[in-house]
């Protein structure tokens, strides 16, 4: 290879490696801020600030959703199967919100460790299948990866 071209090639490689390392360091330093939400285990461990706007994400615990009879108020529990965070919310829930499904709640933690949510989003997982397949899996008691529920 011509020395001038080799020099340019080295320059290009240096550029790519240098910018990758720089971006890697920046994202590593900001990793806490890049995460969209706190998992309940981190909230339970005291990793989430009290009285500040945060998001908590996890699965909605089965049989935890309680709706008020005369208002839009709803309470439920988010879990990552290690710890639990109770959530109170007044508003319309997304259609895909449901027990045993993922959700992200934004709001402030009060002194009792309850998240006073101002927004609740449903978190969809990567599983896509026709309803018949879902029914068949439900009957067999296995999930899509072949693990028993």
């Amino acid at each position: 290879m011509h020395p001038v071209r080799r020099q340019r090639l080295i320059l290009v490689l240096f550029l790519v490696v240098f910018s990758s390392v720089a971006a890697g360091l920046v994202t590593y330093a900001l990793r806490g801020n890049i995460n969209l939400f706190f998992p309940p285990a981190e909230v339970a461990a005291g990793g989430a600030p009290v009285g500040q706007s945060i998001r908590v994400g996890g699965m909605v615990l089965e049989d935890s959703v309680q709706r008020s009879q005369d208002s839009l108020e709803v309470s439920f529990t988010l879990t990552d199967y290690e710890a639990q965070v109770p959530v109170v919310y007044a508003g319309i829930l997304p259609d895909l919100f449901g027990e045993g499904q993922g959700a992200v709640a934004a709001g402030k933690l009060d002194e009792n460790g309850v998240l006073q949510a101002t927004e609740v989003l449903a978190k969809h997982d990567e599983n896509y299948m026709p309803p018949e397949v879902a029914e068949a899996l439900e009957k067999s008691g296995y999930d899509k990866k072949g693990q028993a529920r």
């Binding site: 090639l9 995460n35 998992p39 927004e119 969809h124 599983n127």
Partner: protein
């Protein structure tokens, strides 16, 4: 004496054959013609694949067990996002080739790829927002995947704008090549963002190893659409490159001949 000249010529000839492909690639009329003959069959194939994939995916697949019919946006959203990422590598590698070997045609390819990539990235963001509202409950969330995809859109638009900002096209090509190479770091970040950080966006449904998390009846039309979008990107790239070549070479004999031929039709 004569034989020595013959040998030298032969060596020169072999060298020429070895490099002729590379040199032809650097010849605007040759590239214009070859791109034209590729387009003649690739364009109809692409349109057919897009039609078949869209009709199959949008009309003949089952609705999803949780999302119902809204999941069908996957047949536009995922292919455009996948090709937007792959197209960035095409642009950045073309930029590197033009930077190292000063190959004009690589510069043409880089410039041609940028607006196509920007359009695909915009489609991915837009369809994602349309799907996000009924599924998540929000049009937009600043999570790692969505934000890094927005940065990709700005990188593509940045290359387009930077190229136009220079009067000297050689300097423009060099600046754009450097911008695209630096921006290349964003591609693995977009790809891995859903695994590295807690995000609202779900992880990939199509898996290269192991069973995909999407049912095969929904997967096949999706794979066809991804292939069709790759072909669409190639078609748009070749068409953009042809237009750029004619514009750049507008004073040369071959372009004049071309215009005369077209005028005679």
């Amino acid at each position: 004496m004569f034989s020595r000249i013959g040998a030298a010529q032969k060596g020169l000839y072999n060298h020429a054959v070895m490099w002729s492909f590379f040199h032809k690639l650097g010849s605007p009329p040759w590239l214009y013609d070859i791109a034209g003959s590729i387009l003649r069959w690739l364009l109809p194939v692409t349109i057919m694949a897009l039609l078949v994939g869209a009709v199959w995916g949008l009309l003949f697949t089952s609705p999803d067990f949780r999302q119902g019919n809204s999941y069908r946006i996957i047949y536009i959203h995922v292919p455009s996002a996948v090709v937007a990422l792959a197209g960035y590598y095409v642009m950045a590698i073309a930029g590197a080739v033009s930077l190292i070997w000063r190959m004009k045609m690589a510069d043409v390819a880089m410039k041609a790829a940028a607006p196509i990539g920007a359009a695909l990235t915009f489609i991915a963001l837009f369809t994602g927002a349309l799907w996000g509202k009924p599924t998540w409950g929000t049009w937009w969330e600043w999570d790692a995947r969505i934000t890094s995809m927005l940065i990709l859109l700005f990188l593509y638009l940045g290359v387009v704008a930077l190229y136009e900002a220079f009067d000297n096209k050689e300097a423009a090509g060099r600046a754009c090549a450097i911008l695209s190479l630096v921006g290349m770091v964003n591609i693995p970040i977009i790809y891995k963002s859903v695994d590295w950080w807690y995000s609202l966006h779900q992880p990939a449904s199509i898996k290269f190893s192991g069973e995909s998390a999407i049912d095969s009846s929904m997967l096949y039309p999706l794979l066809l659409m991804i292939g069709a979008f790759y072909a669409l990107f190639t078609c748009c790239l070749l068409m953009n490159m042809r237009a750029e070549l004619v514009q750049r070479e507008s004073r040369t004999a071959w372009v004049r001949k071309l215009v005369k031929q077209d005028g005679a039709h």
